[in-house]
């Protein structure tokens, strides 16, 4: 009995110490972790103003983490406050450009070397998306601008795709949202059949996504993803905003022949896949992709689905993924 009590007390002490280490940051009055967000200039385009505060609120509700739901905005990476907080969030689509001074690059390098974590949302973006910021496309490499930028900060390092079994994908949530999570009756269809099977098997298997990361001193210090913030926002009553639609690949028995000869007047773009091979995307510039020729010679068509159920599912996924990334950043 005495041994049990000693062990219990030890666990409590260790647990409290761990909790303090995890959730308190020196310099903060109340121990709440403040997420920093880079916003270059006031008045520039803010794509999803509700996104990060909603996600921080959700993390506070669903976990024992203690985040200040009010992000701290920095307009320069040479701001001294950078070193006061452990996580820096950047929505790359909100940056007017990727011009960073040498002081900023040096500060970011030091920040990452000292243990800071950088989340580059929209750090992955297929080239054919152009300036259409409302899209994401799961390419498996960082966008050119990010590569060039980090080439100045860490010339000796490169971004690498995170494997599907990486712990970042299961830090808090595991797998895809089910009916219970989506607050649907068991009998209710979560998604159209073709969409659900594509999502489960290819788009987001087991709740994973195309993330690339960079290690600094053997620690994952930076993660880039296709735009996820569009999936984090909620209104004051808890409803998701804004609506999101899905692009999925569909096949048919004769597509391998039909799509090769079907009428087409556009361009093709190559996009890197998870296996490092290239998909050949067929599209008319300025419009959404039509179909794809996959490396094994398979042809599939892109179909677009929208609606409440699609949007709710996408939001749930992106929010769960965002939460996994931030909590991973906090714990590692």
């Amino acid at each position: 009995m005495r041994v049990f009590l000693v062990i219990l007390v030890l666990f409590l002490i260790l647990g409290m110490g761990l909790f303090h280490t995890l959730y308190s940051v020196p310099g903060l009055d109340a121990g709440a972790v403040r997420i920093m967000q880079l916003r270059r200039v006031e008045g520039t385009l803010v794509r999803y103003p509700d996104a990060l505060p909603s996600l921080l609120e959700m993390m506070n509700e669903k976990s024992h983490a203690n985040f200040d739901p009010d992000p701290m905005f920095l307009d320069s990476l040479s701001d001294e406050r950078l070193f006061e907080n452990p996580i820096l969030y950047i929505n790359c689509d909100e940056l007017p450009n990727f011009d960073f001074s040498s002081e900023e690059n040096e500060a970011l390098r030091l920040y990452m070397e000292l243990g800071g974590f950088v989340y580059l949302d929209a750090g992955i973006k297929a080239s054919f998306l152009g300036s259409d910021l409302g899209h994401s496309y799961a390419a498996w490499e960082e966008r050119d601008e990010v590569r060039a930028w980090f080439g100045q900060i860490f010339p000796e390092k490169i971004f690498s795709p995170l494997p599907r079994n990486h712990e970042i994908f299961r830090t808090f949530y595991k797998g895809l949202p089910d009916n219970e999570y989506l607050r649907l009756e068991e009998s209710q269809k979560r998604l159209p059949d073709t969409v659900l099977s594509f999502v489960e098997q290819e788009k987001w298997p087991q709740g994973t996504y195309s993330l690339v990361g960079m290690k600094v001193k053997e620690r994952l210090a930076c993660v880039a993803s296709p735009i996820c913030a569009m999936g984090w926002g909620r209104d004051e009553f808890g409803a998701w905003i804004p609506p999101i639609s899905f692009r999925i690949r569909e096949s048919a028995e004769d597509f391998d022949e039909t799509l090769q000869t079907a009428s087409f007047s556009g361009q093709t773009y190559e996009v890197t896949r998870e296996d490092g091979l290239k998909d050949e995307i067929y599209l008319i510039p300025g419009q959404r992709p039509l179909w794809v020729k996959e490396p094994a010679g398979r042809w599939r068509i892109f179909k677009y689905y929208s609606g409440e159920e699609i949007s709710n599912y996408a939001h749930s996924f992106y929010a769960r993924l965002g939460m996994n990334v931030f909590l991973y950043a906090l714990l590692n």
Partner: protein, 529 residues
């Protein structure tokens, strides 16, 4: 010779027909041919591709195939060719016996209109909307989601020619939904699928569909939160219909916080026109969740009802525990003005809140409502806050309003670690005792921040302290342009004594950085350098 003939005659023909392709038309756009320089965009091997007509003919044949997979593939492909011909083929596919084909057909039709444009063609819109009764739920969901864009085609008004007492009259036909479609829409409001219910409910107003009170009551009992939230949005239009108020009262006990919160918001809006809805808010003040109860109480206060002291304590407790100024806490915070003078107690309790946003707003409101800006002892501690937002909120409240300052307070401000606070110290010289100004200004004049130094110069010029002209004359040679500018402005402010000194400087140092600006200003005053 033969080789030359091949290059001159045969090869160009071969290239020409290759470009024409097997269907014999030149559909390769010029810009694509020119895009070869872009390494990432490979030119498409055009000869393999058919024409649009050819593709649509092939697809039309496949839609008649006995093989379901072929029909599905054809319906999917048609989505890529928006236009009347593909549209007609897809409309036909909506009648297919296989739900897989109907689904693919509907998704492709939606794809045709994905640019957000409305569907004006009445037969097309009516045909699509009739599928709101399709046995397959995926088809119904697609139709319900497409409803807003079907409305222009479904609801087009018209004119009719009638004979009245032997005279021919032309009169307008009001915008209505076809009777059979109206019945289908009424049924869809109670569809077995919650997404369909939610969509039709959301768009029923644009369909000019009057919801029967018993239907809305059922929807206000819906087990799906999404449907319920949309149903609550519709209550405004049906507030005086039988059973609705009772249902709203019942919703005050709903297990979902979002639903109760929305019930409060809707009742607030209704409370002005329908006083009986204030009862809903009164019920919500008993809610076990602080954020709901406090919001309801503040909403009642907006309508002139008194808030009890216990409820103010609850508001304080809720906001003190809120993690930041966001969401419902933000909504509540910005509604506090409805409490009148009572709100001062709430703001004061939040001055040490962990959230910088909350502290900033609390300090701003606290100083404004309590007139706390009058006494520096009230607000000087807040200027030590680590967050610039909080310091700026305080500075904004006190700047230009403080009427006097004591020596110890001015010393605290002058020696402060934050430059924006030292700027305030420089501004405070204007209300300080003459002796205190004499004792304090030097430290501010040698401050590391140019803004502090220039503000000090401006204050001294304003006060006309002993020796200020010499000080300003010397400052014209400062390395910082902002200091030179402040010195110039100070001297210009005194036509009798200051301006001649500036004139002398300009004549002595015509190429100095400030001289050009100074010359212009002096000319405006009629003084020619």
């Amino acid at each position: 010779m033969r080789i030359s003939a091949f290059f001159v005659l045969i090869l160009p023909c071969f290239i020409f027909f290759s470009l024409i392709g097997k269907e014999g038309n030149l559909s390769l756009p010029l810009d694509r041919k020119l895009s070869d320089g872009n390494l990432s965009n490979k030119p498409v091997d055009l000869p393999r591709h058919s024409t649009i007509d050819g593709t649509l003919d092939d697809t039309a044949l496949k839609l008649k195939s006995k093989n379901i997979e072929e029909r599905v593939g054809a319906a999917k492909l048609l989505g890529k060719y928006p236009g009347p011909q593909a549209g007609l083929l897809l409309i036909g596919a909506l009648e297919d016996s296989s739900e897989l084909v109907r689904r693919a057909g509907m998704v492709s039709l939606v794809e045709h209109f994905h640019n957000g444009s409305p569907i004006y063609e009445q037969p097309l819109a009516e045909k699509i909307f009739s599928k709101i009764a399709d046995p397959d739920v995926e088809v119904r969901r697609e139709v319900s989601a497409l409803t807003p864009r079907l409305v222009p085609g479904l609801m087009r008004s018209g004119i009719e020619r009638i004979q009245l007492n032997g005279r021919t009259l032309i009169r307008s036909i009001p915008r209505t939904l076809r009777e059979d479609l109206r019945l289908l829409a009424q049924q869809a409001l109670l569809d077995s699928d919650s997404i369909v219910r939610q969509n039709i409910l959301k768009y029923h107003y644009s369909l000019r569909l009057q919801i029967k009170p018993e239907t809305l009551v059922k929807l206000l009992e819906d087990h799906d939160i999404g449907v319920l939230l949309v149903a609550l949005d519709q209550v405004r239009m049906y507030a005086n219909q039988p059973g609705i108020l009772q249902k709203m009262e019942a919703l005050t006990a709903h297990p979902d916080v979002g639903v109760r919160s929305k019930t409060a918001k809707i009742s607030l809006g209704l409370g002005h026109s329908f006083p009986e809805y204030r009862k809903v808010l009164r019920l919500l003040t008993q809610d076990k969740v602080d954020e709901i109860a406090t919001l309801a109480a503040v909403d009642l206060a907006r309508m002139g009802e008194r808030v009890s002291s216990e409820m103010v304590d609850r508001i304080i407790l809720y906001l003190s525990q809120a993690r930041g100024l966001y969401g419902k806490a933000e909504a509540l915070f910005y509604s506090l003005s409805a409490l009148g003078p009572t709100s001062a107690r709430v703001y004061q309790s939040l001055l040490d809140h962990p959230s910088a946003g909350m502290r900033a707003q609390a300090w701003g409101n606290h100083l404004r409502i309590s007139s706390g800006w009058k006494d520096p002892a009230n607000w000087i501690p807040a200027l030590n806050d680590r967050d610039l937002k909080v310091r700026e909120a305080v500075l904004n409240q006190v700047r230009g309003r403080v009427e006097e300052i004591q020596k110890d307070h001015l010393q605290l401000l002058s020696a402060h670690k934050f430059p924006e606070v030292r700027v305030l110290a420089a501004e405070m010289l204007l209300v300080a005792d003459k002796q205190l100004v004499k004792e304090s200004f030097f430290d501010l004049l040698i401050d590391e921040s140019p803004l502090v130094r220039s503000t000090t110069l401006r204050a001294l010029a304003n006060l006309r302290t002993d020796g200020w002209i010499d000080l300003h004359a010397r400052s014209l040679n400062d390395d910082e342009f902002s200091i030179q500018q402040a010195a110039m402005e100070g001297l210009l402010g005194d036509v009798k004594s200051g301006a001649p000194v500036l004139l002398e400087y300009v004549q002595k140092f015509p190429s100095s950085q400030i001289s050009t600006l100074a010359k212009n200003e002096l000319r405006k005053m009629g003084l020619m350098p």
